[in-house]
Each structure stands twice: as C-alpha cells, then as structure tokens.
C-alpha cells in the first residue's frame, strides 16, 4: 500500500514538475519583457526630414504629423500639395518652398508662420537619418 502511495506521489511529482518548468519559463519571459520594454519616445508619426538639410548646413527638420492632422485632413497635403506618402520620396528643398510648393503653401505668413522662421522647423538633433516614427519601423521589418 505504501509503495503504491509513493508511486502515485512520484507520478504526481513527475507530472507536476514540467508544469513548474512552464511557470518558470513564463516568469522569465515576463521578467525579460518588462526589463526590455521599450521606453516611450518621439510622438507617433513624427517625420525627420534630412535628405539635404544637414548637407546644406541646417539642422534636420522635425515634422509632427499629430500637430498638422488636428488642423488639416490628410488629403490636403497628400493630394493638394502632392506630398508622396513615403519618407524620402519628396524633393523638398527651400527653393520649392519659396515658390509656394510643399510646406511653402501654408508657411507663408498667411496660413502659418513664414519661411523666415528657420529655427521652428530646423529643430532636430545632429545626424538624424530621414525616418518616420512608427510601429513597424522601430520594431519590425519596415522599409522606411
């Protein structure tokens, strides 16, 4: 009887141990996730425009999508102003802006501050690559 009881107990332990192993694995994974959890960074959709800015001696431009979409629907810039929906695909340069193209359509002292306010847009850190702050761009196989 004792032997049977022990063997039953042993069997219980045998079946229980793998579960404990799972628990340990789960805890480890959770701990790892918490340690490695990415910290909040720039606002979602922020674009770094630096195709030529730094080459030409100005800091990179930081374009906040959130600020603009409160005031304009997407189609205003992405249809009326011909902004291609792809970082780096637009030939943005100060000459075009001064002719009223791209940002220059609004940043003309009428709708928004004029182009003489260089520092308002050219406000980025040194050496930033052209990019957009997004979900798959920062943690997956994005192509931005």
């Amino acid at each position: 009887m004792k032997n049977t009881a022990r063997s039953v107990n042993n069997r219980k332990i045998e079946t229980w141990q793998p579960r404990r192993g799972w628990l340990v694995t789960a805890t480890t994974t959770l701990a790892l996730l918490l340690v490695l959890a990415p910290l909040a960074s720039a606002e979602y959709g922020d674009v770094v425009i630096n195709r030529i800015a730094e080459q030409e001696g100005a800091p990179p431009v930081i374009f906040p999508h959130w600020f603009h979409r409160i005031r304009f629907r997407c189609n205003v810039c992405h249809t009326e102003l011909d902004f291609e929906m792809r970082v780096g695909a637009n030939n943005i340069n100060m000459d075009a802006l001064q002719q009223g193209k791209y940002c220059g359509a609004c940043h003309n002292n009428e709708i928004a501050w004029g182009l003489q306010n260089c520092i308002m847009c050219h406000s980025g850190k040194e050496g930033l690559k052209p990019q957009i702050k997004g979900g798959h761009q920062t943690s997956g196989p994005g192509r931005w």
């Binding site: 922020d46 906040p64 999508h65 009326e80 792809r86 050219h122 406000s123 850190k125 957009i132 979900g135």
Partner: protein, 187 residues
C-alpha cells in the same frame, strides 16, 4: 539541475525588474506624451524647444486609445473635438462614402472589414485609387507581409494611422458573421 539554474536566472531578472516595477506609480503620473526636449528627435539646445507646442498639451484632451498617438482620431472628428480643414483654402465639404469592403482570405484570422466611411473622412479617393488599390474588390493581392513592409494599408498604418499591432481593429468580423453578411447581400 537546469531548473535550479533557470530559477537563479529568474530571480536575477526579477531583481532587475523590481526597481522598474517600483517606479510604476510615478510612471502613471508621468504624461503619456514625451516632452519635445526628451523625445530623442528635437535638439533641446535649439531655441524652438521653448516655442513649439507640446504634444501632451493637446493630445491629452482628445478621446484616447492605447496605441499610436494615444488618440482616437475618428472619434475626435466625429464628435467635433477637432475640425480639420478639408481643403487648403477654406473649411470645404467632406464627401464620405459609406461602403464596407470585406477581405475574407485571411488564413484563419478574422475577416477584415475595411470601412470607406472612416477613411474618406480623412482621405481623397485618389489617395488609394487606382494606386495602390484597384477599385474592384478583390482585384489587389494584399498580404500581411507586404503591409508589414510598408505597402498597401502599411503605407499609413504603422506610420501615421493606428499601428499594425492593433490586429483586431481590422480583423474584426468572424466567419460566422461574414457568412450572414454575404447572405444578406445576395438576397
């Protein structure tokens, strides 16, 4: 033996984690939106940092979600929190299209419902048609891999519109429901 090793590693990791957990209450108090000076993009030594609008000042007052800008942009427009212009010059008229498109070939995931209405609130037909989407339902071979690579839906979702981690916001219709919808459409 290996279990003991794993236990040691777990305890070590927990020890590393606990300080982070202890900071949780203060993390709740800190705003969801990083100040521009700490966002990793703006140079805090440049003068714009004093003048530019802080995201937290504005976005915190809009209806919230748990991803992207933490803003439910559709609700914000629908309920009048914001009135973004439809054209450059004036307020303009927004022409919406109330038409749902279903993507049923989802390899077992729930069927995707694409609502034209929410999209036409923001976009022009020409933003999506004829490129990257043909106007005929089912004519464009869309795959999740391409979306993750920034094509099709991924041109916006994952960059500006809600991110691709929000699976169930698109994969939102069970096959059972989809069958009923199809039956209704056919009758």
């Amino acid at each position: 033996m290996w279990i003991r090793l794993v236990n040691v590693i777990t305890l070590l990791l927990l020890a590393l984690t606990l300080p982070a957990l202890a900071q949780e209450p203060s993390a709740v108090n800190t705003p969801k939106h990083k100040p521009l000076a700490e966002d990793g993009l703006h140079d805090p030594s440049l003068p714009a940092i004093e003048i530019l609008q802080e995201p937290g000042e504005v976005l915190g007052a809009l209806p919230s979600t748990t991803s992207g800008n933490m803003v439910d942009w559709n609700k914000a427009v629908r309920d009048g929190y914001i009135q973004p212009r439809a054209t450059l010059e004036e307020q303009g008229e927004v022409e919406t299209l109330d038409l749902d498109i279903y993507f049923p070939n989802t390899a077992g995931a729930d069927v995707v419902r694409f609502p034209h209405r929410e999209h036409t609130e923001w976009l022009d037909c020409s933003n999506c048609h004829p490129f990257p989407f043909a106007e005929k339902a089912g004519a464009t071979p869309v795959s999740m891999l391409q979306i993750l690579m920034g094509e099709y839906c991924g041109r916006c979702h994952g960059a500006v519109s809600f991110p691709l981690t929000e699976c169930s916001r698109c994969h939102s219709v069970s096959y059972e429901e989809y069958r009923k919808i199809r039956e209704q459409q056919e009758n």
